[in-house]
């Protein structure tokens, strides 16, 4: 086996070679090994190939070269199990009736990073242990969709609609396999090519909406509704043989070669009109519940005057909308929506809030978040108006912040589960440092999440959906600063899109005290 070193010294010499650390005589010793046996030469080639792949891997994945470390997450275990179930049952049952592509991936028992989040699910029955619900995370694994319609939001920005019976496997953030069933892909924000391996071929998007239909005998038909896609057939070693670029309105059948598809356009699946901008669950009962806790400042996004959002609390300044944020939803369930495109922007008061930051006091921040992107995003921050903006900065120091992180280490070098929600405090206000809390679960979501962060001068605590999830000791004295809320973006300037919130935010409430766990739970339970 050429991955087994002929002996330890040879491997050490090769490590020195690729590190540029060869000592006198080392090259001759390597040459002796190479002359000595074919096994040594095979190992040498394999070693260098892995080293070259490592170099390339780190170059291509500079931000996050490693899969996340194992985290004790219930869903991770679930999908690991899900991945193994079909193997245990015997994939042979499938291969008897379906032309499966040549195996092209390594089956790894450990679950990989999150690759998708479920959205709309209608009448879905599948092979996974938990029933489908919006916001469930999917990592690598085979999914058998026995019936129903399921929407998946991929971490790369694509949206898939699948109609059962279907069988698919998400391979990584760039490709998946579809063995059976109907699939529609629509690209919303991604500029990355996504590849769908089908029996005997591949379909790759070029910024488009297209549909793929894989019949039980492996026959695959592709139709492009908008933009372009590339369909190709592959040979027995899974290398591209023929390809055709499809424009809008064109179809193709993938078999050993490429032919025009005999299917009518109406036979192809279209994207489900998924409720991406789902109405906020905060209705009348939630408003009553929060009102009973007497927030110092509270914006429900129900009342809009020009570019201002009126506060629910008397004497509180309005939120001024900057850029192009939208207020969406039905009356009683309205919320602010921002993204990095047409709706880029933020909301902030023009003045600070008296009494929010009191020596000896406490602070609570409460809101509802509906994240819709894999990027690191800031939902809300309190910036400090009592401090000057240094010459090398163009925005104020921050005191409190709520973010939804990206992949571990990706944006700010922190270790956390992918897409965790982060609560952060900097006392005194600053641009870096401070204490952080992270959730153990991921919230790529596409569902509304109830978030509360409290700080009593000793402990920073984070509550998600009414429950305590994490805390960090942070013994600090509040400063009596004048704090101003900024909602949806870290840097409130038009040319700074960094950490722009993508998704919805609702019911922003600020308290000059620490909410009790019972109050927080009561608020959450009052949601629709």
């Amino acid at each position: 086996m050429k991955s087994d070193a002929p002996d330890g010294l040879f491997a050490t010499l090769l490590s020195r070679l690729v590190s540029g650390q060869l000592a006198d005589g080392d090259a001759d010793r390597i040459a002796d090994y190479l002359r000595g046996s074919k096994a040594a030469r095979d190992y040498y080639r394999f070693y260098l190939a892995v080293h070259a792949d490592l170099t390339e891997h780190f170059r291509e994945n500079a931000a996050a070269p490693f899969p996340p470390l194992p985290v004790p997450a219930r869903r991770v275990r679930m999908f690991a199990l899900a991945a193994l179930i079909p193997l245990a049952l015997g994939i042979g049952m499938w291969s008897a009736s379906i032309r499966l592509p040549v195996p092209q991936v390594v089956m790894v028992p450990e679950p990989g990073p999150m690759l998708a989040v479920t959205g709309f699910a209608d009448d879905v029955r599948w092979n996974l242990p938990e029933p489908p619900a919006p916001g469930m995370s999917l990592s690598r694994g085979v999914v058998e969709l026995k019936q129903g319609t399921l929407v998946l939001h991929l971490t790369g920005g694509q949206t898939l609609t699948l109609r059962g019976p279907a069988r698919f496997e998400l391979l990584n953030d760039k490709e998946m396999r579809l063995d059976l069933g109907d699939l529609s892909q629509r690209v919303v924000r991604s500029h990355k090519t996504y590849m769908i391996h089908v029996p005997g071929g591949v379909v790759a998007d070029l910024g488009t909406e297209f549909s793929v239909k894989v019949a039980a005998d492996g026959t695959t038909d592709v139709h492009v509704f908008e933009g372009k896609a590339v369909a190709s057939s592959t040979d027995s070693s899974n290398r591209t043989r023929y390809e055709r670029i499809l424009n809008a309105g064109e179809s193709v059948r993938i078999s050993e070669t490429l032919h025009d598809s005999p299917l009518a356009v109406g036979e192809f699946l279209r994207p489900h009109p998924d409720a991406v901008k789902a109405p906020s669950p905060a209705g009348k009962s939630y408003a009553e519940s929060v009102g009973n806790s007497s927030p110092l400042a509270w914006w429900r996004f129900e009342h809009e005057k020009g570019n201002q959002i009126t506060a629910e609390t008397v004497g509180t300044p309005p939120l001024v909308l900057s850029g192009s944020p939208h207020v969406l939803g039905t009356p009683g369930h309205r919320f602010i929506y921002t993204d990095t495109g047409d709706f880029a922007g933020f909301a902030a008061t023009e003045s600070g809030l008296d009494g929010l930051d009191q020596p000896g006091g406490g602070i609570s921040v409460e809101c509802l978040l509906h994240p819709e992107s894999e990027q690191h995003m800031t939902a809300l921050l309190l910036e400090d108006l009592t401090l000057p903006v240094p010459p090398d900065q163009d925005f104020l120091p921050q005191r409190i912040q709520i973010e939804r992180a990206g992949r571990s280490g990706e944006a700010i070098g922190h270790v956390h589960p992918p897409y965790a929600i982060r609560g952060m405090a900097r006392i005194p206000s600053s641009y870096s440092g401070g204490a952080s809390t992270y959730t153990a679960d991921s919230y790529l979501a596409r569902r509304w999440v109830h978030v509360v962060q409290t700080h009593d001068g000793k402990m920073l605590r984070l509550y998600i959906d009414g429950k305590w999830v994490n805390e960090t000791p942070d013994i600090q004295e509040f400063q009596g600063s004048l704090l101003r809320p900024v909602i949806a973006v870290l840097r409130p300037t038009q040319d700074q899109m960094r950490r722009q919130w993508i998704g919805g935010i609702d019911e922003v409430a600020l308290y000059d005290r620490v909410l009790s766990p019972q109050e927080i739970q009561t608020h959450f339970q009052a949601l629709d």
Partner: protein, 184 residues
Amino acid sequence: MNPTPDSSTDDNSASEFVAHMLDAQRGLRNYLLSLHPVASDIDDLMQQTALTLWKEFHRYDRSRPFLPWALRIGYFEVLRLRTMRSRDMLVFSEDIVEMLAEESPPDATLQPKRLALTACLGKLNPDERELLMACYGEGGSVASLAARRNEKPHRLYHQLDRVRRALVLCVGRLLRDTEGSFSP
């Protein structure tokens, strides 16, 4: 200077050439690296080989596989480069290069190797990850990591040796267990 193909070369042959190169580039890179294991030369060597392949593409016999033809031309590019380097810049003598070139096979398991590598990287502990970041990540260095950890650099190079060996073994095992063999 841009290479000028034969006058009969048209857009189709350019597309064909690009498709061949995309398929062959990783195998070609590994081959060149094995003959001339000097990381700082590999990008230039790849570039020069690609230019020569394009210039000579009209001579390519389409009834035969592309990769062996590309490797052969790459071999001559290695020899050409060696004549431009002083002897002390070369790792191997000519007989070793020739021996490796004679039996070097195309790598038929390119994509699985990358996937297996990713899986194996997931098994590393935080210390080992930090070490690989220092070695392969942009702007990192083993020396600066040693200074930060207050350790001797040679200890980290020993650890790097162990990590690389483990990764090679892990990738090989995953490929063997899943593909039956990663032998070409």
